[in-house]
């Protein structure tokens, strides 16, 4: 059954990525992969939040199926490491080393910060609800 939840979540996440990265890419132009960066960072916030809100220390009891559906399925389908890698290599192949480096460093740093932000948001929610 876990595979079914991952499959459904992955389908939803991938479709959301396709839509979202399209909107961002059209807004920002075709020079730097902002669309991919945006989905990865927002996906980072989401998975950081979900990991903490469904973790053992949380006040919320989240079923395993929901956790797999949201984290492995939706977040996995939504974010993309392969597209990030491809677009970085595209920049490198054109000799655009500045943007390639900015993409690697920027994405990794921003995604880690995003996960921490999601984690902090969930902790805050736990505390507020806990009174």
């Amino acid at each position: 059954m876990a595979y079914v939840w991952v499959a459904i979540g992955g389908a939803l996440g991938s479709a959301a990525r396709y839509g979202m990265s399209g909107v961002i890419a059209n807004l920002t132009g075709g020079v730097f992969p902002y669309g991919t960066l945006f989905v990865n960072v927002t996906g980072g916030i989401l998975i950081g939040f979900l990991a903490t809100i469904s973790g053992p220390d949380s006040r919320f009891i989240i079923p395993t199926a929901a956790r797999i559906f949201m984290m492995t399925g939706i977040c996995g389908g939504y974010t993309t490491f392969s597209t990030f890698s491809l677009e970085t290599v595209n920049l490198m192949r054109e000799g655009d080393w500045m943007r390639a480096a900015a993409n690697v460093i920027g994405s990794v740093v921003l995604c880690l910060i995003a996960v921490m932000a999601g984690h902090a948001g969930a902790l805050f929610l736990n505390r507020v609800r806990g009174g």
Partner: protein, 117 residues
């Protein structure tokens, strides 16, 4: 077949995902040009573009790479190009209804084995 020295260059700009009766539009146009015995046609594929909709297409960004620009160039006499235009209009109109068609005068210096006179 001969092409006069004073000829015409027909350019058709479109996206690679444009279709005509189930096959790629650029393919349909080239095959139609061949069927009508035009002098030749060349398809060029570009890495980046935008058009009427302002929507950007780029080979560099995966999400923007699903409709990259295609240009077809056809050089022939003005009479042959004029005969071809109605057919082109039918194919372009049947698709997504977008694209760009231009015509310019060119001097043909060589077509095939012999210099053009």
């Amino acid at each position: 077949m001969q092409v006069p020295r004073d000829a015409v260059l027909l350019r058709v700009f479109m996206g690679e995902s444009d279709r005509y009766q189930g096959s790629p539009l650029y393919e349909a146009i080239v095959l139609k040009a061949r069927e009508l015995h035009l002098a030749g046609a060349t398809v060029l594929r570009g890495p980046m573009s935008f058009g009427l909709s302002s929507r950007l297409h780029s080979a560099k960004i995966l999400r923007l790479s699903d409709d990259l620009p295609i240009v077809i160039e056809i050089v022939d006499s003005k009479e042959h190009i004029d005969q071809f235009l109605p057919q082109l209009e039918i194919m372009m109109g049947a698709g997504v209804g977008s694209g760009l068609v231009t015509i310019e005068k060119v001097q043909v210096l060589r077509y095939g084995a012999a210099p053009t006179t």
